[in-house]
């Protein structure tokens, strides 16, 4: 048996690892692969650090290759071990731990480093860059204890950092040397629009700002500009550019200019040494975006695994800014020259700006601001150098108009019309044909499957709608039935997609959602409006204005409508405990308002049935006066927390179940959830509170508390799954809040926790709530923040403050 060749990769980042994946795909048996990475992690999606900083994604979500993945694929990973020397004649390398290794083939993919402007103060604590997980953690930590952030650099990276820091609660100033933002991607007009938008969000932008000095003694305190102006700063993020990491190449005496020079086969000047990624220079060009780097990886994999050599011929790149709610797209040459012509479209009302640059009837550049839906289509035309003379008059209006049909054009027809070579996923360089083939050959029916087989839409996610449409068009009903159940008849989009778009596009009202996602009805229907209202409320706590008219009557009237049009009133009875005072007040309102039925509910509370709508506010006022608040018996929200008597009284009780139940109810009351949410706490495994058919059930045992999730009584009974066991009451609260928040963020509207847990899987819940402490704490934190705005007694607001008074009185009395 011949021994396998030793392939070594230096740098386990996005480019290098993509090359390794492509190599495994071509021939998984050819090489014995070893990978060195200076960072202490497996490979993660660096692009997504921006959404992580913005709090829109978690670090867990952006891992591309976990350490297990390396093991499963028989790859030896040395992470947290930097390679310090390379001898391309002896074919060996040395690491910082002084270990030596041999190779037969070597790939250098060391990426690049942030450029630090050489001003005094640049080494002060609090001055950082934005490149890796460590930087993001530092920024998030800084935001917890400091207020003022300055970002130096108004390019892509700087603006994403500024946006993220602002969402972390900091006051942010962006200092940009040039007169307009992102001048390398945007023309002046678009740069100004962008600046205006960021300023309207409260980000301070100073252009023409030349940094002279960073001031501070123990930590950064301010940034001084050459103009003399000083901007207070507790944190300075330098995002002025990157510099290819070429030291290894230099040390090994490879040909190095700006980057490590490679030929069209991705080979460096030394035999058997190749390079891909941001560290390389190819035909005079260095790249800083992933699409070309992935292309390099594919070519290299082919050349390392097959006999037919392929050439990499350079890439045209396109840019998108990942700041939610700001749509910017640019590609190609966008500055007008003498022999180019411009087509410009502006709509200041809609804040849309588009500019196409054309030379000899060929599209050579495009800048889009506001409406970027057609970006990929223009990008494709630029790459194909397509003659556009026959659609020139409609070109600026985008694909739907230029190729016929206008706004009513069937999006499926447009997708079908795309040629197989059209690139759909820019991040991963996946064409329509690749996706169609994978769907057909492997019988894929869900977006998740398409992502895992092709990587399409698996990075920044902005092409998800196109990928979904290709899936539907190719797999037909099989895909529709499985993959995406639309929210309602007004749309073809499913719940997850809608939530994702709300998050990513920063949609903040129902009309905005309907507009952006092209709803087919002017204002939705009784099914989608409550769902959208909930999704917006959950995404933007404290910021979103609840849309009253999008709530079902019970949640508007804060009482349950009955078959005869009267209402029922259920005050909160914390943990099922009451007292003489409360009972007296209840008895009094029953007499005073002539309430026909008083019933003990299945949820350990008291229901007053048959109250006239006009009497509701007065009934509540009396109950409020006795200290009682709404029980939300009517809401998609926390309902009851049932308890048993627990160790407070019971001879078998091991823990104080009543106290625990009250604590949980105080924690979670008034929260809105996708469907109703019920809890119970039992003081011992005899489980008298029936905790194992609740959404969140707690069962006390000798050594602590067992936590159960996903139970349901009702029509389809489901017993809970055991989530884990914890020791303290504080733990119970933290796990409870974290689970509720995860369900709040991921549950589909009107999906109870039982079907939710089955859909996402218990492992998923455990991964976020049990195994990852950081993630649990963040979920819990988000829950608490949302509760800050939610825990207001709706009865008191109406009875005392006369909120929505029109709901409770007729407009007129005739006769």
């Amino acid at each position: 048996m011949t021994q396998k060749q030793k392939l070594v990769l230096i740098g386990n980042g996005m480019a290098g690892m993509q090359a390794v994946e492509d190599i495994l795909k071509k021939d998984s048996a050819k090489y014995d692969i070893t990978v060195f990475g200076a960072e202490p992690h497996g490979n993660y999606n660096r692009i997504m650090l921006s959404p992580v900083l913005a709090g829109e994604q978690e670090l867990d979500d952006i891992v591309i290759h976990s350490k297990e993945w390396y093991a499963e694929n028989n790859i030896t990973l040395h992470c947290g071990e930097k390679v310090t020397a390379l001898d391309s004649t002896a074919k060996t390398l040395t690491t910082e731990k002084d270990n030596n290794f041999e190779y037969d083939k070597l790939i250098i993919a060391t990426g690049s480093s942030p450029f630090i402007i050489p001003v005094p103060g640049k080494d002060l604590p609090g001055v950082i860059s934005f490149r890796d997980i460590n930087d993001v953690n530092m920024m998030r930590d800084a935001a917890k204890s400091y207020k003022n952030a300055v970002v130096i650099g108004g390019g892509l990276l700087g603006l994403e950092a500024a946006h993220g820091l602002q969402l972390n609660g900091m006051n942010v100033t962006v200092l940009h040397l040039m007169p307009t933002l992102m001048e390398r991607q945007l023309d002046e007009a678009a740069g100004h629009l962008l600046q205006k938008e960021l300023e309207s969000r409260g980000i301070n932008v100073i252009t023409g700002a030349d940094t002279q000095e960073i001031i501070g003694t123990d930590r950064v305190e301010a940034v001084r500009l050459k103009s003399g102006e000083e901007i207070p700063a507790d944190l300075v993020v330098m995002a002025v550019g990157i510099r290819p990491n070429t030291e290894l190449g230099q040390a090994a005496q490879l040909d190095v200019e700006r980057g490590i020079v490679v030929d069209d086969h991705m080979q460096t000047s030394a035999p058997d040494v190749y390079a891909v990624g941001e560290c390389v220079q190819h035909r005079g060009q260095c790249y800083g975006l992933v699409a070309p780097l992935y292309e390099m990886g594919r070519v290299l994999a082919n050349n390392l695994c097959t006999d037919s050599l392929e050439n990499y011929e350079g890439s045209i790149t396109s840019t998108k800014l990942k700041v939610s709610g700001v749509n910017v797209f640019s590609c190609g040459e966008f500055l007008a020259t003498e022999d180019s012509e411009d087509i410009v479209y502006r709509d200041p009302g809609l804040n849309v700006y588009k500019r196409l640059v054309i030379k000899d009837d060929i599209l050579i550049g495009v800048v889009l601001y506001g409406d970027t839906a057609d970006g990929p289509w223009y990008f494709q035309m630029i790459r194909e150098q397509k003659n556009i003379s026959d659609m020139r008059d409609m070109l600026i209006f985008g694909q739907a108009y230029a190729t016929g049909g206008g706004q009513d054009a069937d999006p499926f027809a447009l997708i079908s019309a795309l040629p197989d070579e059209a690139e759909v996923c820019g991040c991963n360089g996946i064409c329509k044909g690749d996706i169609v083939t994978a769907i057909q050959d492997k019988g894929l029916t869900t977006l998740a499957e398409v992502r895992s087989h092709t990587k399409a839409s698996a990075s920044c996610g902005s092409c998800t709608p196109q990928v979904e449409m290709i899936l539907q068009a190719t797999a037909g009903d099989a895909a529709v039935a499985h993959a995406i159940e639309p929210v309602c008849g007004c749309t073809t989009h499913g719940h997850d997609y809608v939530r994702q778009q709300i998050r990513e596009q920063g949609l903040k009202s129902i009309p905005e959602v309907l507009q952006a996602l092209r709803w087919s009805t002017p204002n939705g229907c009784g099914k989608c409006r409550p769902a959208l209202n909930y999704y917006l409320l959950c995404q933007w706590p404290g910021e979103y204005n609840d849309d009253y008219q999008s709530r079902f009557i019970n949640e508007r009237a804060h009482a349950n409508i009955q078959k005869d049009g009267t209402y029922s009133v259920v005050p909160r009875i914390w943990g099922g405990l009451t007292n003489a005072n409360e009972l007296r007040a209840i008895a009094d309102v029953v007499d005073k308002f002539d309430i026909p039925t008083v019933k003990v509910t299945g949820g350990q509370r008291i229901d007053l049935l048959g109250v006239k709508k006009e009497d509701l506010t007065d009934v509540w006022a009396d109950l409020n006066a006795a200290g009682m608040v709404s029980g939300h018996a009517y809401g998609k929200s926390l309902r009851t927390v049932k308890t048993c008597v627990g160790s407070e009284w019971c001879r078998f009780g091991t823990q104080a179940a009543m106290t625990m139940g009250i604590e949980l109810e105080k924690l979670s009351w008034a929260s809105w959830t996708p469907h109703k949410f019920k809890m119970a706490v039992s003081g011992c495994p005899r489980n008298c509170a029936e905790a194992t058919i609740k959404d969140f059930g707690v069962v006390a045992v000798d050594s602590g508390w067992e936590l159960h999730v996903g139970g349901n009584g009702g029509m389809v009974v489901r017993a809970t799954d055991l989530l884990c066991k914890v020791e303290t009451e504080e733990d119970v609260k933290e796990y409870c809040g974290a689970f509720m928040q995860l369900y709040r963020e991921e549950g589909h509207y009107l999906e109870r926790t039982a079907p939710y847990v089955e859909r996402v899987g218990l492992d998923h819940i455990k991964a976020h709530v049990v195994e990852n402490e950081e993630s649990r704490k963040q979920l819990y934190q988000r829950f608490l923040i949302s509760q800050r705005y939610a825990q207001i007694d709706p009865w008191a607001e109406r009875a005392r403050d006369k909120v929505h008074a029109h709901e409770f009185s007729p407009l007129a009395q005739v006769g």
Partner: protein
């Protein structure tokens, strides 16, 4: 039968995509403010099981009944989709934002 035009309030008394009620001697009337500020008046009882339509969610030119989700067209009073049934509608007149509805003498309690 005699009918009267009676002023019952202003458009702004009704929340957009919302409803208010008017009590009369012959039953309750629901007054809707639909898409584009169009005002419709219907008897406040669903043709299915008398659900109070005024408590439903208003969308486009229709309301979804709060009890069992029938969708009633506000202009014609007819149930949409597979369901069958009609709610009596009441004529409405708007002048300068003021709403008038046409009411029978019986509903006002006057016998003539």
């Amino acid at each position: 039968m005699t009918t009267y035009w009676i002023e019952v309030g202003q458009i702004n008394d009704i929340p957009p995509l919302g409803a208010r009620t008017i009590n009369t001697k012959t039953g309750r009337i629901a007054l809707f403010r639909a898409e584009g500020d169009k005002i419709y008046a219907l008897e406040d009882r669903c043709p299915h099981k008398n659900g109070p339509l005024s408590q439903g969610i208003v969308h486009d030119c229709a309301v979804t009944c709060p009890l069992h989700n029938w969708v009633i067209d506000l202009q014609s009073g007819e149930a949409r989709g597979p369901d069958q049934g009609t709610v009596p509608t009441i004529p409405v007149k708007i002048t300068d934002g003021k709403i008038q509805i046409a009411i029978t003498a019986e509903a006002t309690g006057t016998n003539d």
